[in-house]
């Protein structure tokens, strides 16, 4: 089907196949609103997704879109940004995609600090395969789609993000579009790797972590006085331990907001130390040949072996 959307619209006209009432709609709306507000030309944005309900979002946003493999959204997103640092890169995953099959990439990404944004659609279940337990499902819970109660302890995306070195770690909620939109904008503006763990109820399979569950529990830590900004390494080290304490909170009160925001060296700056021209030239747009004749020249290299 040919796309008929207007150039400046950030929404495609592709029919959306999420279940009615799915939390994913709120995330899509917030993302589109954020893009509209930031007015980045569509062709300069790349959105990657893995596999799962949430990872279909690249089809619904009118930007460059890489629908990758299960667990590989973040790996590919980082490579896009490394290949062309002028692009604005957002990667999307479900919690199974990002913290189960893709957890190795999650941890390694923190070591790089590529300047991009990672959205985790966190609903505790594998929706597309009919609701098995996912890495964030709390211990002992048994949503209606499970055959047995969940006997695994959950991964805490915020705690893992802080431990791995994400320099912007936050949580938001798919039914609080205003907060989510603002958080996405802050994450995109942050220079470095940003994580947004988005509480996103699965209306079909997870009857426990529902809108009714989250609405009374979620509170904004920044409204309660938490300032996530760390302006020096010392401040970062001081704040991160407090951020961990907040991140581990889960019960009658569930924290959301930005837990840490620390501006340090991004991966393109680090690469520039090794490759002086990196980022100054646009490798994608720069020609590698002139009428088929290579511009690369191995003459000196050959000499070095003579």
């Amino acid at each position: 089907m040919l796309s008929t959307v207007k150039p400046q619209s950030y929404k495609t006209d592709v029919e959306i196949d999420w279940c009615p009432g799915c939390g994913d709609f709120g995330i899509l709306n917030a993302l589109v609103l954020a893009l509209q507000e930031l007015k980045i030309p569509n062709e300069n944005v790349v959105l990657t997704g893995g596999i799962g309900c949430s990872s279909k979002i690249p089809h619904y946003v009118n930007v460059n879109a890489f629908h990758t493999l299960h667990g590989r959204s973040l790996a590919q997103g980082q490579a896009v940004k490394i290949a062309n640092p002028q692009l604005e890169v957002i990667s999307a995953s479900g919690d199974g995609d990002g913290l189960g099959i893709g957890s190795g990439h999650f941890v390694a990404a923190g070591r790089r600090n590529v300047d991009m944004t990672y959205l985790i659609f966190d609903n505790g279940v594998y929706g597309l395969t009919k609701g098995q337990a996912s890495p964030t499902l709390p211990y002992g819970e048994m949503p209606k789609s499970l055959e047995t109660e969940n006997i695994k302890f959950p991964v805490n995306p915020l705690f893992l993000g802080l431990a791995s070195g994400f320099t912007f770690v936050s949580r938001s909620y798919s039914y609080n579009i205003k907060h989510l939109k603002e958080t996405i904008i802050r994450a995109m503006k942050h220079k470095g790797l940003s994580l947004i763990d988005i509480m996103q109820p699965c209306v079909t399979y997870n009857n426990i972590n529902s809108k009714e569950f989250y609405d009374p529990r979620l509170y904004d830590i920044e409204k309660e006085g938490w300032n996530p900004l760390a302006t020096s390494e010392r401040e970062y080290k001081e704040k991160i331990s407090q951020a961990v304490v907040k991140a581990l909170e889960w019960g009658d009160r569930i924290p959301m907001g930005v837990f840490i925001e620390y501006q340090t060296e991004t991966y393109d700056q680090k690469l520039q130390k090794l490759i002086p021209q990196y980022g100054k030239k646009n490798y994608v747009m720069e020609p590698i040949d002139s009428d088929g004749r290579p511009l690369g020249d191995a003459t000196k290299l050959m000499d070095s072996f003579c």
Binding site: E43, L69, V80, A83, M302
Partner: protein, 576 residues
């Protein structure tokens, strides 16, 4: 006069054996000789027994020899293990008291003491320079001037001039004090400027020439030498080498960088390629130009990581679920590795599909002298890449040749939608329409016919020898070297080197093999190429000569084996 000299340096890993053999190989290359080296080492860092061979000749050589003329043992065990390979006229350069008429004794301690005293050092500080004594003794026996050796040593230690000075003082001491009744007067040769390289360096230079801008890898033997070489030059030649958290990330990063518009590759070995397989299938489905450099080693599983094998041909051909087009190329030497590297990127971008370049441990760890590459021959073809503003863009537009114009992010009007699910022309996945499936499968698979049709014969096969010969040896990859060396001593036998394994060049292979006595030579257990030829052409190999003990083939083994075929249906080589 000697025209085929073989030097072996043997000892515990980490005792300087590669320094000794590499320096000797370089000195002889600089003299204008052809050199071929073979490294046999353990998958450990220090201690285990390892050995390096250096073969030298004024004529072209492409393999190692079973015979050793000069043995440099760096411990007593090496004498016991290797003296049976030493020729009767050979020499063992050693300080030990050996009951062997071939012993060329040197007073190691006195030499080191003299140098230590001269420079005000302790003797213990110079113990590591024992191999320099042996090296100098070897070059003296060959009749080379000590200055030539000292120049290479100075280059090797360019960043540590004091170490160079001490080593060179050792060389002077050996040259002034040591005289041996053993002489290896090499037949003189004319100097010609040649490179001494292994295939990891050839591939690396090919990538620079090809304009590759992104390489990802996860450390693995024997592939990481290539990535490490690229890391050493990326600052000057302006590209990114990314060490990833695993091979799954490595290939996904290469795929994403490619879909962002860069010529991209990843390098790995068997265990790493196994992890990449799902993503290879994704590259086929998404029509992503990505090149995988696959350095085979002895499997299965972890196998023998530092040992050689060509056991992964069938795997490279079939890896990945579902049916998708791929190209598999197998260079047979360093020169082919260079040109094939460049061509692999051209093919990947022209046809928008994954390309696998099959290499192996023997090529990765053997240095040989080669002529400088002819850069004037190199061409870049990026296919239907769009980098300027466009409109009404569809990433998977149906075209006559199955190849769609390829836009990348950042191109105005050319928004890209890439999808690993079956998709429409626009890249969206919400159709599982039966007709669309047929169109898209046809679109992708028809590229294979185009590759076969447009690829010149020398990319597919190379034929050596006379067409009238009844016996034809068929093989692929690094066995090319020992086969060509052996065929200089065997009459009436030709050689067909298969270079493109997928799509398989049925027409060319049939042309050269039909009606012939077919002798298959491979470094694997089952003869995978012979099976492939039977599958694709119906032609059956009369004999299979295989070797799977982890060591490359010495040319003498093949000379003997060729005398046993086709009478014997299978010959297993076992020289180690």
């Amino acid at each position: 006069m000697v025209n085929d000299l073989n030097l072996m340096v043997a000892g515990p890993q980490g005792s300087g054996i590669n320094f000794t053999s590499d320096t000797f190989a370089k000195v002889m290359t600089r003299e204008g000789y052809y050199v071929f080296t073979n490294a046999e080492l353990f998958s450990t860092i220090k201690g285990e027994h390892s050995y390096f061979r250096v073969r030298v000749s004024k004529d072209v050589i492409r393999s190692y020899s079973e015979r050793v003329d000069i043995l440099i043992p760096l411990d007593a065990r090496s004498v016991i293990l290797h003296k049976r390979e030493l020729s009767p006229e050979g020499a063992i350069i050693s300080e030990e008291n050996l009951d062997d008429p071939r012993h060329a004794a040197l007073p190691y301690r006195d030499i080191l003491q003299t140098v230590a005293t001269k420079f005000g050092k302790n003797l213990s500080e110079l113990n590591v320079m024992k191999n320099t004594i042996a090296l100098a003794a070897a070059t003296k026996m060959i009749g080379l001037g000590g200055e030539k050796l000292k120049k290479v040593i100075s280059e090797n230690f360019a960043s540590k001039p004091q170490i160079a000075q001490l080593n060179n003082a050792v060389v002077d001491e050996v040259y002034s004090k040591f005289s041996s009744n053993k002489k290896f007067d090499m037949e003189p040769t004319k100097y010609s400027k040649r490179m001494l390289i292994n295939c990891t360096q050839a591939v690396g230079m090919g990538k620079v020439e090809a304009g590759m801008k992104f390489q990802s890898y996860y450390p693995i033997t024997p592939a990481s030498d290539e990535s490490n070489y690229l890391e050493s030059i990326m600052g000057e030649y302006d590209f990114v080498v990314e060490q990833t958290e695993d091979e799954i990330s490595a290939i996904n990063m290469a795929i994403a960088a490619s879909n962002t518009g860069l010529r991209s590759a990843t390098s790995t070995s068997g265990p790493g390629f196994s992890l990449m397989v799902e993503s290879l299938s994704y590259a086929g489905m998404t029509e992503t130009p990505v090149v995988v450099f696959y350095y085979q080693r002895a499997g299965p599983s972890t196998g023998m990581p530092t040992r050689h094998e060509q056991g992964d041909l069938r795997f490279a051909l079939s890896a990945g679920h579902g049916e998708f087009p791929r190209v598999v190329i197998a260079p047979g030497d360093n020169t082919e590795s260079f040109y094939d590297t460049i061509e692999s990127f051209n093919i990947a971008e022209k046809y928008q599909l994954p390309v696998i370049v099959l290499l192996d441990k023997a090529m990765a760890m053997s240095n040989m002298t080669v002529e400088q590459f002819d850069l004037a021959k190199v061409r870049i073809d990026r296919g239907k890449l769009i980098l300027k503003e466009t409109s009404n863009y569809l990433r998977y537009k149906l075209t006559d040749d199955g190849i769609s114009p390829r836009s990348v992010p950042g191109v105005k009007g050319g928004l890209v939608m890439i999808a690993g699910d079956e998709h429409d022309e626009d890249g969206h996945i919400f159709t599982e329409d039966a007709d669309n499936r047929i169109k898209m499968m046809n679109k992708r698979m028809k590229k294979m016919g185009a590759v076969l049709k447009n690829t010149p014969e020398e990319m597919k096969v190379k034929f050596y020898g006379e067409q009238k010969n009844k016996k034809v040896v068929v093989s692929w990859g690094s066995t090319k070297g020992p086969i060509l060396d052996a065929l200089e001593l065997v009459k009436n036998t030709s050689f067909l080197q298969v270079r493109m394994m997928e799509p398989f060049p049925v027409e060319e292979v049939t042309k050269y093999l039909k009606g012939k006595t077919i002798i298959d030579v491979e470094q694997n257990y089952s003869g995978q190429l012979a099976d492939l030829i039977r599958e694709k052409t119906g032609l059956v190999a009369d004999s299979r000569i295989v070797k799977f003990n982890g060591r490359p083939i010495a040319y003498e083994e093949l000379v003997r084996a060729f005398a046993r075929v086709p009478k014997e249906k299978e010959v297993v080589l076992d020289y180690a």
